[in-house]
């Protein structure tokens, strides 16, 4: 958590990142940028899922509909914040010549998406009574 707060400071202080280590080959930075954008698209897709649940499942009971939509929107926000945090950590690791950071986040996100998908299948199969 303290590490996360330290990274948040780096989000807004580009010159601090540039002070550390050496500038890596620009192609590595571009690859890191594309990974960041891919995670950002994942976040946007989750947010879109939240909108879709709200709009296209109007017959669902209110609690379920709002709960699923908020879960997807929240997952999207987490995914977006984590995307920029991971990007900063990778950029810094490349400048310092360290190993790239590892993360449990992809596995956790996979589990969350699987649980949401199963919940939606169950809701569709068990009917819509509201």
């Amino acid at each position: 958590m303290i590490e996360f707060v330290r990274n948040v400071r780096l989000w807004f202080a580009p010159e601090e990142i540039r002070e550390e280590g050496g500038t890596p080959d620009y192609r590595f930075s571009l690859a890191n940028e594309r990974t960041f954008l891919a995670w950002l698209r994942t976040a946007l897709a989750l947010i879109g899922g939240g909108f879709a649940v709200d709009q296209f499942l109007p017959d669902l009971r209110w609690g379920w509909r709002v709960g699923l939509a908020l879960a997807l929107l929240g997952a999207g926000v987490l995914c977006a914040l984590r995307a920029v945090n991971h990007w900063v950590r990778c950029e810094r690791a490349m400048r310092r010549g360290e190993d790239l950071p590892v993360s449990r986040f992809p596995a956790a996100l996979g589990l969350v998406v699987a649980v949401v998908a199963i919940a939606m299948v169950a809701l569709v199969l068990l009917g819509w009574e509201g």
Binding site: W11, Y26, L40, L44, L70, G74
Partner: protein
């Protein structure tokens, strides 16, 4: 878009081009979300709050588009500099703003 000045030095892996396309995909995804948000906001007779939310979401998407446009311009340089953290944070804040609009529309 200005063509790369040092065509001879171009990266054979086409990394700047791939990064440019990644930005394009991201703006397209943002467009889908903005359309869903506007549709949701104007659902049921377009109340004033819905119009405000729709305008906000459109503005956020235009901001993301402008950010991508500037970055794509920077990527046309022979040796593009790394993405500025401020630009990365702004892109993420655009996504978060869309999600906040979503929460407001759901509740």
């Amino acid at each position: 878009m200005t063509p790369p000045r040092a065509a001879a030095e171009r990266d054979p892996g086409l990394q700047p081009e791939r990064t440019r396309l990644a930005w394009r995909r991201t703006t397209l995804t943002g467009a889908v979300i903005a359309v869903l948000a506007v549709k949701s906001a104007l659902h049921g007779g377009a109340p004033p709050s819905g119009i405000v939310a729709a305008a906000l979401c459109t503005g956020v998407w235009l901001g993301l588009l402008g950010l991508a446009h500037r970055r794509i311009g920077a990527l046309a340089a022979p040796r593009p500099v790394a993405l500025a953290p401020r630009a990365a944070v702004t892109a993420v804040l655009c996504a978060v703003a869309l999600a906040v609009c979503g929460v407001a529309l759901v509740l």
